[in-house]
Symmetry: C2
Subunit: 416 residues, 2 copies
């Protein structure tokens, strides 16, 4: 039997799990206070839903679940490898949410403000900080086409990050419509823009040379590739100069509104910025996209965007939708690295009992002590000093005894 | 695209999810207060670990994940159907915990008191109340061979159920060693006892006729099958008459101790009972097994037992272990049916704004109101009475307005 977890997956020790539970609690409390409501969807989805979901490179990273029984036998008999699986593990929470909204819309309010915090799966090559099983914390607003929805998501997501002690961060905003107009202006064909965006988004991973080579390999027009390359190397442009060059300057109105309103809502606690080279990987984004960056970290700690056409694929009728996802794993890794201490952690006490003790009475004494702290009952060892040391190393603050009223505070020098 | 969740899996509406989060919170708080610490393990496990895990009928219900890339091509080329999958979705939390303990033992205290609350998967035929994806809430104690561990698990699990409002319940206790001695006494062969137990455990599902027929179909000795059949139809025996018939009466000592001690710890708030026909399905149980039943419900709401050999399969060295699992889905279904109201739910307020409002100021007003309640910002509709009705139906208690200080309590007659 193998004792290690599968490649790219993790066992979480008690201290890590406690940090994750705390972080999730802070995020959930912030989101709930803002009127968002949590839902749940299965981790498995129909494989066709996933395959057709326009998730960019994520579609190559789906873990597929083998058919069972007669259906497996039939698929094997037909020798059709593509027909072996009928389900897959979801690669994000947006596709399941879109399906969910289509299935349950009659029972949901409009606009629907929703929280999801749950596991997703991607069969990526494992590397530091990148996992095959990880948690996303999303909020979404469905049924609201106004840019106020973007402003609200930025406000609430930023409040969650502030509550976790993040301070020096920037919310970067772009609009796919501006991006597409700009790329079309460079000479890329309209029906190639999704594919160009997917390559473009890898800028941080593969650099401008990588983007240029990938676009060339995709057979894109050399002049267009050269124009994009020059743009990528020339640094970012401001919103107004870029807007002035757009065929329809009104394309910049939503970004302008969102930046100005979110900036005032922020009240100086974090920054807003226009980021014309921001893409986000998923193919399903249709309008604004955003990403939260901190100067200390190379990768974004949150990201999202508007995906007005996704629910329509399930429902046959378009529903405006926009979401913002906190990179839960990255946030936890940063807090762990910073030595973040859980602010409201209850003290832990060990109640020691001797072999001859009445164990029912021990449990009753423990229950009484639990009003004030977390209480573990443990057999008292002969070498009490050594036991105290082990308990302190394991994070216990106090020791009590079943057979007397003494309470020993750990980490203090013995006075005797 | 398909809008419904997969067969046997569920979308959770906001009210259901809120109940589940509350129930999980009550259980986690109870377990943490008792010094248990939560860990996390991946939902996927190596397929060999699962296949060799002695999980009884659950082994036939594993969702398997298809290999990827070259390994899939190789498996397809070899035409070996059994080699198509390299991972599986776990069917319980005990197998992953045993692997986890073997992998991380050096960093864990002894005894290790651990909480797991997470999803598991079984490809069962879907039916009312039985899901293919469901949540288990487990506590386990590893590294403690004393029956005090059983008593502690019973005490803490019962406290969680009491905290959720369950009152009229019984903790039924048996010991696999007694059961095996009794079955051996009836004439079943030693190496057939696991298989007999697995059939025996289906008593509630398939009745005594079903058990008898299944044992006969397995080729068990007819005299032994007849003796068991007579026992199943004769009703339960008391502990002492049964102990007197055992080849080694000391086999009943642990059950006797656990029943007496847990009874005193219970202090009359729930009942303890010896249940000689209690088996529990998993093959891995080695000693005591337990189950919580309520007179109102056919199925158990919690169950567990001692599995002293499971960690040893991973570690090559035996570690005593015992666990108790609350049937989270069943508990939630019962509470939902009872119309359980979440006791500490914050009131929900809708803050309405007009199209001309300064949205940044609206968000700031909302933030100020959140000290007292959950606040959603929503565009004010022209038909205000209709909007009030919809908000009330959606569970809002109050309405406030961005442009004045009025607060309207919903559900009260308009005084004007």
């Amino acid at each position: 039997m193998k004792t290690q977890p599968l490649k790219g997956m993790r066992d979480l020790l008690p201290a890590e799990q406690a940090l994750r539970d705390h972080v999730q609690g802070v995020i959930l409390n912030t989101y709930r206070a803002a009127g968002f409501r949590r839902i749940g969807t299965p981790i498995l989805e129909d494989i066709e839903n996933l395959d057709k979901s326009d998730g960019g490179d994520n579609l190559n990273l789906i873990f597929k679940v083998l058919k069972r029984g007669d259906k497996l036998t039939a698929a094997l008999g037909a020798g059709d490898a593509a027909a072996l699986a009928d389900m897959g593990l979801r690669y994000d929470l947006t596709v399941p949410l879109s399906r969910y909204y289509a299935a349950n819309r009659d029972r949901l309010p409009t606009p629907f403000k929703v929280i999801q915090t749950d596991r997703v799966y991607r069969a990526e090559r494992p590397q530091k900080g990148r996992w095959r099983e990880f948690v996303q914390c999303d909020i979404d607003i469905l049924g609201d086409a106004s840019p106020n929805a973007e402003v609200e998501l930025i406000d609430v997501t930023a409040r969650a990050l502030l509550a976790l002690g993040f301070e020096d961060f920037t919310v970067n905003v772009n609009d796919r419509r501006i991006l597409r107009a700009m790329l079309a202006g460079m000479g890329f064909a309209e029906d190639a823009l999704d594919s160009v965006c997917i390559s473009f988004d890898k800028l941080n991973k593969i650099g401008p040379d990588g983007v240029r080579d990938e676009l060339a390999a995709k057979g894109m027009p050399p002049a267009a590739v050269a124009a994009l390359d020059a743009f990528l190397r020339g640094g970012d442009l401001g919103l107004e100069p870029l807007a002035a060059r757009l065929p329809d300057p009104a394309l910049a109105d939503d970004v302008r509104t969102v930046l100005a309103t979110a900036e005032r809502a922020a009240g100086g606690r974090y920054r807003l910025a226009f980021a014309p080279s921001l893409v986000r990987g998923q193919g399903y984004y249709t309008g604004m996209v955003f990403e939260v960056t901190c100067p200390q970290f190379a990768d974004a700690i949150a990201g999202g965007g508007r995906y007005d056409n996704m629910v329509g694929r399930f429902l046959g009728q378009s529903v405006p939708a926009v979401g913002f996802s906190i990179g839960f794993e990255r946030v936890c890794a940063i807090l762990l690295e910073r030595g973040y201490a859980i602010p409201d952690a209850r003290p832990r006490l060990a109640l020691l009992y001797r072999p001859e003790a009445d164990f029912a009475a021990v449990l009753q004494k423990a229950a009484a002590l639990r009003a004030r702290c977390d209480v573990t009952v443990l057999p008292q060892q002969k070498k009490l000093g050594r036991q105290f040391g082990a308990l302190e190393a394991d994070g216990y603050a106090e020791v009590a005894f079943a057979d007397n009223d003494e309470i020993r505070i750990l980490g203090q020098k013995d006075k005797n």
